[in-house]
């Protein structure tokens, strides 16, 4: 379904949802040359995002944990 999407201050252009998502992802060449693959990729990414259980705890820490770098040999202090 085509819908209005802003392209600059006050201006809109008719685009499909796929075109909007592709442009948001920085894909312009692929939209012209590989539109079917782009559409499949959008569908696939939705399936992938829903393919595992979300941890129940809001504060659950992701892996790998971030760790501050150890002082390097060139550190001045």
């Amino acid at each position: 379904m085509r819908q209005a999407a802003p392209i600059s201050m006050g201006a809109t252009i008719q685009m499909t949802e796929e075109e909007i998502l592709a442009r948001a992802a920085g894909i312009t060449t692929g939209l012209k040359t590989h539109p079917r693959e782009v559409a499949e990729a959008i569908a696939a990414s939705r399936r992938m995002a829903g393919a595992f259980t979300r941890p129940a705890g809001e504060a659950a820490e992701p892996m790998p944990a971030y760790a501050a770098p150890l002082p390097t040999k060139g550190s001045r202090a």
Partner: protein, 464 residues
């Protein structure tokens, strides 16, 4: 008596050390073998025989003068073409990187070179270690040495095919979602994905930073332990490298299975992704044989394969998109269509999904760690089916979800695959997987070697 090209790495090492043949004589036999059968399996994308011969001459002189530098001195190792060898391009089997000349060895290649190994070939891969067997690339896809109409597995397809076809005794592969163990399973050889960080990734073109591993592929368990012993070691320039001291991973190999408790993860191949009847029967037979050899076999449960696979995909896609984003946006037509379709979804993954996958990953790691408080090792399926036809895209597509290898890329635990039978219907290898706690590769090799001694598969080779 075995022909020289049939010797294992360990046997060739002994032959050279005892002056039965020289590194050059051995290499010449392998080059002739490549000439005879190489065109059938398409394992090699860049032959380096002349350079390897010069290295073999030097090794021969060195060994004659002062003995071998190591058990690998003068021995050839094939290198998957996403791993750098100084002076040659790393193409990743892609037209995008045909001129990607490298001036330095990957850290793992440098380690092997220091041990005296020589490098006669860059080997085929699925494009960027993710595509699949594609026919619209600068190089043809590798084929299965047991039946060249079939898929060799991937992405380290050329490594599996070269070792399985007795062209080379050993090769390096890489494994992000099972890419060492998949071709090892389908080509009837031994493939190890060691603990994350045990082998340096520096100089290896990345697919997904937190899932990538480099692994040895060989025809025997002893060879695999030997090669890993030479590959492993801390690399301060690889941010994921583990500060773990190098070990002799073959040290426990004669101990046998007595005293080990092996957790059999049956639900992976019985419920989550039901395996073919032959694969399931071969796994049960392997468990029974391990029990007969002294192991205690205990059925255990882990989270479902679907959970592991979902987390693997979300992380892999997101990290790969960060690597390939520019090319995907600017030159999508330069990828094989299959690779493009595999990589493009990564550009649409949300940051939240990536972080959620990394949170779920921590829970999955904890679940596997908890299981290791009850058992020493785990036995699981590797592939649920034998290798499919290489020109059947739907069947090829199914080989990627129908497996139990990705869980251990997600968790980082070491995992080895090896042959556990031959399918009666197709004459293709069946396979199992042994998994251990982090940095307990020696225990995996111990169990694998005991199984290899007890089972009748080790002397079977494809009739090319």
């Amino acid at each position: 008596m075995k022909a020289l090209h049939e010797l294992s790495l360990t046997e060739a090492s002994a032959g050279i050390a005892r002056r039965r043949f020289s590194p050059v004589e051995y290499l010449d036999v392998l080059q002739a073998r490549a000439g005879d059968v190489g065109g059938k399996v398409n394992a090699i994308v860049r032959p380096l025989w002349d350079e390897a011969r010069a290295q073999a001459v030097k090794a021969g002189r060195r060994i004659a003068r002062s003995g071998p530098r190591s058990a690998l001195d003068g021995l050839p190792v094939g290198i998957k073409d996403i791993i750098d060898i100084a002076g040659h391009p790393t193409t990743c089997h892609s037209r995008i990187l045909l001129d990607n000349q490298k001036s330095a060895d990957a850290a793992v290649v440098a380690r092997l070179r220091a041990a005296g190994a020589i490098f006669p070939a860059k080997l085929a891969t699925h494009e960027f270690a993710i595509g699949g067997p594609a026919f619209d690339l600068p190089f043809p896809p590798a084929r299965n040495p047991w039946n060249t109409a079939h898929h060799p597995g991937g992405s380290s397809s050329g490594s599996g095919a070269a070792v399985g076809a007795n062209i080379l005794p050993a090769a390096l592969g890489t494994d992000t979602g099972g890419s060492v163990r998949h071709p090892a399973s389908h080509c009837g050889i031994v493939g190890m994905k060691a603990t994350y960080g045990l082998v340096s990734r520096r100089g290896v073109f990345p697919l997904a930073f937190t899932l990538d591993h480099v692994g040895p592929m060989t025809r025997t368990v002893a060879d695999n332990a030997l090669l890993l012993s030479m590959m492993a070691g801390h690399d301060a320039l690889d941010p994921g490298s583990a500060a773990h001291k190098p070990e002799n991973y073959a040290r426990q190999m004669k101990k046998g299975l007595s005293g080990l408790t092996i957790g059999y993860v049956r639900h992976f191949h019985e419920r989550d992704q039901p395996a073919s009847a032959e694969m399931a029967a071969a796994l049960d037979a392997a468990a029974k044989l391990m029990g007969k050899e002294g192991a205690k076999i205990k059925t255990i449960t882990l989270p479902s394969l679907t959970e592991f696979a979902g987390v693997n995909r979300a992380i892999l896609m997101s990290e790969a998109a960060a690597i390939h984003g520019k090319w995907l946006r600017e030159r999508p037509g330069d990828y094989a269509n299959l690779t493009l379709r595999r990589l493009l979804p990564g550009l649409f993954m949300r940051a939240e999904d990536y972080v959620q996958a990394q949170r779920r990953r921590r829970e999955l790691v904890a679940a596997v760690e908890a299981a290791f408080t009850e058992v020493d090792l785990m036995l699981t399926a590797s592939s649920m089916d034998v290798a499919c036809k290489i020109d059947d895209p739907e069947a090829v597509e199914l080989t990627y979800p129908r497996q139990a290898r990705t869980p251990f890329n997600v968790t980082g635990h070491p995992a080895l695959t090896m042959m556990c039978g031959i399918s009666k219907a197709e004459g293709l290898p069946l396979s199992l997987q042994l998994v251990g706690p982090s940095f307990r590769e020696a225990a995996i090799y111990r169990a694998a070697a005991a199984y290899e001694r007890a089972a009748p598969w080790k002397d079977l080779h494809p009739a090319l």
